[in-house]
Symmetry: C2
Subunit: 307 residues, 2 copies
């Protein structure tokens, strides 16, 4: 590889990079854990970063857990985190709907999880839609399905109860005058252990967008709102932040979009070969998916932190 | 408008156009009926075309009815049709899977209707998948959902029972080596009376394509298979066929793709303004959506047929 991008971060290179930042933002799945197992060394890396005075944040596109649920999961795995440090798309979408869409005290139609419902409620936004919604009646009646007149926005996150009727209900809301349209993220698949995967929120969002013939505003990585949400609460200087992730198209792209230093870790989805393909593409957008540095695992940061 | 395209077909212009063709292919909804009501004059137009020795066909992207069901619906509305004249995507997909994919005696995973199941069975193709399929178990188990080892293709048509679990099951089949992927059509909405609409098969197909990260082969308009299916059975000469439809992006595009004469009727989705926008675009693909002729209603053909 040519140029200064995508340097392997190892040996004497690690300390100056860590010294150059005040805050480290970690993606979660594939970075500090996989499934229900912490990545070996993740606990010490997090603790040593905090002991050295750095702020640590956990930034995930997964919308199925509240901040509280993430802290419980991390505690079970021996990872040290507080609710204030966790920025999942359930929480960030609630913040977006409250602060950017001014929907406090209002109601949304939610294709999503109970966790999203809880985070919305916590900022004073009511929802309708969580849970099963099976088809009933005849086709001619579907366009006249009951709608809640108070609904001001359609919000799409991960929803295992996604159904034709939910898709239809979203369409009927979205063709009403002034209805906002927000998605948590566009990840096409949720990777599971052993190279397996299940459909991600991006599939559901794409179905709703196709029906509505309009694009949703998304909150999650690589959209900069995700970083802005952290930065505004903690007064972060982007140039003094390191974004650590396993996906080039979300994590590294977010870092590039926001002017952060970027570090790819190879314990998840993306590979060095993926990075090289982006570098060689000559495409400006794809250059944003080339990280500054990469490590085999975040455990590679340990020697410099312990030294 | 300039050029010879999109001429209003009226008065003395009608007879020479009808004389120049041996076969007339009608789209159905928005052309010869709307909802459960025949378009006024449609019955006479069909009868007079047949009496004058022309072949008449009914070509629809709607996959929710068998040929038999279409004939029953048309008979109820006083429209004269035989099963051999009806080419819906339930039937055409079955023909495609049998003749092009060589799946006779094999099995497919079907996201679709009982009508599709029946048309598949009629050509010796078994299916699994029709009906409700709600979510169960934990996320970690979804990637290990029971799959039928005999399934050779995933087929996506209109399915009011579409669900996250169906989407997931389709993904798990599609990541298997050699699994074919066929969609009935890409219509994004099904138009209903009063300007209302519900989500179309295109939304479901887009969700599955996004999860699978691959494109389906589609059978319906504007793909030429739909015309080839009719033409191969009846030995049609494309230059002696007239395609009559209400949608520029499916009906008229099919006609352009296959070298047919094309007639837009304004009793359905598309307008003359839509046509003019395509004409003015300077985009080659969009020129294919400009019809040769248009009428307010197919009843405008009556005087020439009666004369």
């Amino acid at each position: 590889m040519s140029g200064s991008k995508c340097t392997r971060l190892t040996g004497a290179l690690v300390k100056p990079v860590l010294d150059s930042v005040d805050s480290v933002l970690f993606d979660c799945d594939g970075v500090i854990w996989r499934g229900d197992q912490a990545i070996p060394g993740a606990s010490q890396v997090i603790n040593l970063l905090k002991e050295s005075g750095k702020k640590v944040f956990f930034v995930t596109n997964n919308s199925t857990k509240t901040r509280k649920m993430y802290v419980e999961k991390m505690t079970t795995m021996g990872l040290n985190a507080t609710e204030e440090e966790v920025f999942g798309t359930a929480y960030c979408s609630a913040m977006y709907l409250k602060n950017e869409c001014k929907l406090e005290g209002k109601k949304v139609y939610l294709i999503g999880s109970n966790a999203m419902k809880d985070e919305l409620q916590a900022v004073g936004i009511q929802q309708t839609g969580v849970g099963a919604d099976h088809i009933s009646g005849k086709q001619v009646d579907w366009a006249n399905v009951d709608l809640d007149p108070e609904v001001k926005a359609v919000v799409v996150g991960f929803d295992e109860h996604f159904s034709y009727m939910k898709l239809n209900r979203a369409l009927q809301y979205l063709i009403r005058q002034g209805c906002l349209f927000v998605g948590t993220n566009r990840d096409t698949r949720l990777p599971l252990e052993g190279g397996k995967a299940v459909p991600g929120t991006g599939c559901l969002l794409q179905a709703v967008e196709t029906a509505a013939q309009r694009q949703a505003q998304t909150v999650g990585k690589p959209n900069r709102y995700m970083f802005d949400c952290v930065a505004s609460q903690f007064g972060l200087d982007p140039s003094r932040c390191l974004m650590v992730g396993d996906r080039l198209d979300t994590d590294i792209m977010l870092g590039s979009n926001c002017g952060l230093k970027t570090l790819l870790t190879l314990t998840g989805v993306s590979t060095v070969a993926d990075t090289e393909a982006h570098q060689k593409s000559g495409c400006t957008e794809r250059q944003g998916m080339v990280p500054d540095y990469y490590v085999e695992s975040i455990a590679d940061l340990l020697p410099a932190l312990q030294g």
